[in-house]
Symmetry: C2
Subunit: 469 residues, 2 copies
C-alpha cells in the first residue's frame, strides 16, 4: 500500500490532496519558495496526526507541518514531502477565565483566539498583520512576536502547555495550565520555535491576560531615534510600564505605505523622517474611568507629557486617536507592513534585533553599507522599537543577484552591534546561511544532536533551521 493510501485510510480520501488540489500548498506567502509536495493531508484530531506520523515514519517520507501559511522564511517548503495541514484542527477546546488560560487545537486562527479571549473579558495579546490567517501551531513553531511583545512577551511567554506528536507518532502530553511547574526538563520550550523539525504541535494551553480597560493610541513625530527612546523611557516610568506598542515608522516606511495605499491618509500633513506609533494599555481602574469633563485620565496624562515634550523640543508633533476608528486606522497603517514589503517582487526581508541603544547606529551602518554595495536599491524600514526588533526590507537594484549580499549586510551589521540575525520570523530556509555564519558552533552541534535524538530518520521538516543537513 502506498503512503498516500495509508493517509487516505487515516484522514479520509476527501482530506488527502494531490495534483491541482495540492497546488496552494506548493507556494509560500512570500512567493519566493515553490516546491512539489507529494500530497497534503488534513487530519482532524491528534490521533489522526499520530497515525499520519506513524505512516510517514514507516515510509520514511518527510512531513512538513503547515498552519496558516503566513511564514516569511520558507519554513513550509515541502519538496516530495507530505504536507500535514492543521487547518481542520481549529477548535478552541476550552476557555477558563478564572485560570486565565485558553486550551486550543493548534489549527486555531490567531484572530479567532483573540476574539474568544475578548468574549471572555480577557485578552490574548499577540498581534501582527497576518493574524487573520496565522494559526497557533505556526505562531508557536516560529515563536512569533509582533507589536505587543514589549508588554506581554513573545509567543513563548504566552504558552503554558503543549501537546506534541513526535516523529514516530507518540503523543507527548505537556498540557500544564500552571504558572509554576518544575517537573523535569522544560520540553515545551524546545518545541516552541523549532518550526516543526522536532515534533508536530497539535494543542496548546495559552495564557490570557487581564484586558486593559482602555487604550490610548498616538502617532508621534520626532527629531531622531534617540528622542524616541527618551519618550519610551519617560512613558514607561510615568505609567508604570503601560506601553503595549512602540512602533517606529520612519520616512522610508511611510513613503512605501503611501505608494501602496495611494488614497491612505498620512497621520501628519508632512511625512517626518522619524515617527512612532504608540499605544498605552490602561489597566488601573482609576486611570480608565472618564471624569466629569468626559476626559479619560490616562489620555489627559499622555497629553500632558507630550505637551511638555513638544515645549522642550523632544517631540515635533503628535496626534492622539480620539475614537476606535482613529485607533484602528493607526494600527492598520502599521499592520500592512507584511503585505507591502512582500508585494513588490523578490524582497530581502531582514528581521534582526539589537539592544535598544544600538538601533540608530545599526540603521546608519546598514544604510551606508547597502548604499555602497548596491547603490540605488529601494528600502523600507519598520521596527518594533521597544524590543529593538528591526524589519529592514531591501529591493536590491541589481535584482536577485544582490539578495544574498544585502541579507548578509543586514544580518552581520546586527550581529556586530550585539544583536541577533533572527528576531521573530524564524529561520526556515532563509536564515540557514546566517545560522552557519553567526551562531555559536557548539550551539549548532547541540541542536544537531537534539534533532537526531528526537527525529532519527530526519523526516520532520528536513532541511530547515539547521544549516547543512
Amino acid at each position: 500500500m502506498s503512503v498516500i493510501e495509508d493517509l487516505q485510510g487515516i484522514a479520509g480520501s476527501a482530506h488527502v490532496l494531490t495534483g491541482e488540489a495540492a497546488a496552494p500548498y506548493a507556494k509560500d506567502w512570500t512567493g519566493q519558495y515553490e516546491s512539489a509536495p507529494l500530497c497534503v493531508v488534513k487530519p482532524a484530531s491528534t490521533e489522526e496526526v499520530s497515525a499520519v506520523m506513524r505512516a510517514a515514519s514507516a515510509a520514511k517520507r518527510p512531513v512538513v507541518a503547515s498552519a496558516g501559511r503566513t511564514g516569511l522564511t520558507g519554513a513550509t517548503h515541502a519538496p516530495e514531502a507530505i504536507v500535514l495541514s492543521l487547518e481542520r484542527m481549529n477548535r478552541i477546546r476550552e476557555i477558563r477565565p478564572e485560570a486565565r488560560v485558553a486550551i486550543v487545537d493548534s489549527g486555531v486562527i490567531l484572530a479567532q483566539l483573540r476574539e474568544a479571549a475578548d468574549a471572555a473579558g480577557l485578552v490574548f495579546p499577540l498581534t501582527f498583520g497576518a493574524q487573520g490567517s496565522a494559526r497557533i501551531g505556526g505562531v508557536l513553531s516560529t515563536n512569533a512576536g509582533g507589536s505587543n511583545v514589549l508588554r506581554y512577551g513573545n509567543t513563548r511567554a504566552l504558552c503554558l502547555g503543549l501537546e506534541v506528536v513526535l516523529a514516530d507518532g507518540r503523543v507527548l502530553d505537556l498540557m500544564s495550565a500552571l504558572a509554576k511547574d518544575n517537573s523535569g526538563y522544560d520540553l515545551r520550550d524546545l518545541f516552541i520555535g523549532a518550526e516543526g523539525t522536532l515534533g508536530i504541535i497539535t494543542g496548546a494551553v495559552m495564557r490570557l491576560h487581564t484586558r486593559p480597560l482602555a487604550y490610548v493610541s498616538a502617532m508621534i513625530a520626532l527629531h531622531d531615534l534617540g528622542d524616541g527612546l527618551a519618550l519610551l523611557n519617560r512613558l514607561q516610568a510615568e505609567t508604570g510600564g503601560a506601553v503595549e506598542a512602540f512602533e517606529y515608522m520612519p520616512r522610508s516606511y511611510m513613503e512605501a505605505w503611501q505608494a501602496h495605499v495611494p488614497d491612505g491618509r498620512q497621520p501628519f500633513d508632512d511625512i517626518h523622517d522619524h515617527a512612532v506609533f504608540l499605544e498605552l494599555g490602561v489597566t488601573a481602574r482609576r486611570d480608565a474611568t472618564v471624569d466629569e469633563n468626559g476626559t479619560l485620565p490616562a489620555q489627559a496624562h499622555l497629553e500632558e507629557i507630550l505637551g511638555e515634550m513638544i515645549s522642550d523640543g523632544t517631540v515635533l508633533d503628535a496626534v492622539i486617536a480620539q475614537n476606535g476608528q482613529q485607533r484602528r486606522e493607526m494600527w492598520a497603517r502599521r499592520e500592512l507592513a507584511g503585505e507591502l514589503m512582500t508585494a513588490y517582487g523578490p524582497v530581502v526581508l531582514g528581521d534582526v534585533s539589537v539592544p535598544l541603544d544600538q538601533v540608530a547606529p545599526f540603521l546608519e551602518d546598514t544604510r551606508a553599507a547597502l548604499a555602497e554595495a548596491a547603490p540605488g536599491s529601494r528600502e523600507a524600514v519598520v521596527s518594533h522599537l521597544g524590543d529593538g526588533n528591526v524589519h529592514y526590507a531591501v529591493w536590491p537594484s541589481d535584482g536577485l543577484n544582490g539578495h544574498a549580499q544585502a541579507m548578509e549586510i543586514i544580518e552581520s551589521t546586527a550581529v556586530r552591534h550585539g544583536g541577533s540575525f533572527s528576531a521573530e520570523h524564524g529561520v526556515g530556509l532563509t536564515k540557514r546561511p546566517a545560522m552557519a555564519r553567526h551562531k555559536d558552533p557548539v550551539a549548532l552541534e547541540v541542536m544537531r544532536v537534539l534533532k537526531s535524538a528526537l527525529d532519527p530518520g530526519n523526516i520532520l521538516n528536513p532541511g530547515k533551521v539547521l544549516p547543512g543537513n
Copy 2:
C-alpha cells in the same frame, strides 16, 4: 595520574578538597541527604570548569555541580562524585542599566545580584528566604521561584542568556541579551531547571526590571481563602497588576512561626485561621509621589479598598506597614519558612502547585487524607497563593515510616486537582518517585533521550531528576 591530581593541576591544590575539608559538601541543607564525595573542586573560571569536565569525562567520574547548597530536594547528593563548586566564580561581569541586564558568573549570590541591581537603580526581583546563600547557578538549575513570581515570573522568565559547559568540556555560548532572538532551538530553557544533569551553567545574562518607586505592604486577616482570591483579583484590577507578593500564611504557619520565634511579634492580637501578606510595587510616578498631606497615593488607595472590604465583611482585619522596618518585619515572618520547616527533624516538604481556584479544596482534601493516614501528625502550610504554589510541611506522627506516604498524599492530591507535584524546588532525589508516578510517560522517554544525547557517559549529576536511571 589520578583524577584528583588532574583537578589539582587545573584549579590548584588549594582548590581541591578531600577528607575533612570536603565534609561540608557531604551534607545538604535539609540534613536528609548525606554522601561521601570523591573530592570538591573549586574552579575559578569557565575555562577551568571546561578542563574539569574534560578530566571527569576521561575518568568517567560523576560530577555534581554545587552552588549555594540551599536546595530542598537533595539535588547535590554526590556519592563518589566530584563536587564542582562554583563559589569562586562570583563575579558580576557587567551591569548594563540601559539594556536592563546583568551579566554574571553563576556563582554570584542572589542577594549580591539584588544589591548590585539596586545600586544601578533597578531591581532583580527574585526573592526567597535563602537569598543570602543561594547562587545564580543553583537558582537557574532549579528554576527557582519565590515570592515575586506573580509579577515577574520565575527564574526562567528572568534569564536571557546562558553560558554552559557540556559533559565533554565544550563551552556553549548562548549569552544573548536580547528580548527577541529566534536563532534556532531554545537551548537556554533546556538547561534552566535541569539541575546540572545536562550541563554546568557558568554564566548568565539576567533581566533587570524597573525598580518600583515605592512599596505598600500589608498583613490581611480573612474569613477564608475564597475571600483571599477576591482580594487578589480586586487589587490586580484596581492597581493594574501591581501585586508583587500575595503570600498565604494560615494559622498552622503562624503557630509554627511563633513556636520557632517565641519573642516574635504576631501581626494581629489573635492568630487568625487565614491571613495573607501582600505587597504592591508602585511603578507609576503619580502613585508614588507623596501628596501635600504626606500621604502616598498608592497607600491611600489600598486603605480605601481595604476599608470597603472590612465594611462588607470580606476582610477581617488589616495592618499596613508604616515604614521600612515594619515592612522588613513582615517579609522576615514569611522568609523564615525554609528554616522553620526544616528545623525540626525529618520533614516532608511538599512543594506543589494547583490552579488558583483549587487551592482551598486541595488543602481540605490533603488535610483529611493525612489525618486519616497519620493521625496526630504536625503540619504547617505556607503558600505563594498568587501562583497557586503551596508548601505543605508534615512531620508524620509515625516518624520516618510515614514520609513516603505523606509525600504521596500531598503530591497525588495536587495532581488530582489539576496541579503539579513539583512547583519550584526542583526534583532532585526527593521527587523522583513522583516523576515516575505522575509525569507523562512519553515526556519521561523524551527526557531520557535528551539526557543520553547530551551526556552519553551519564556523568552529570547522575541519578537526579529522572526516575530509575
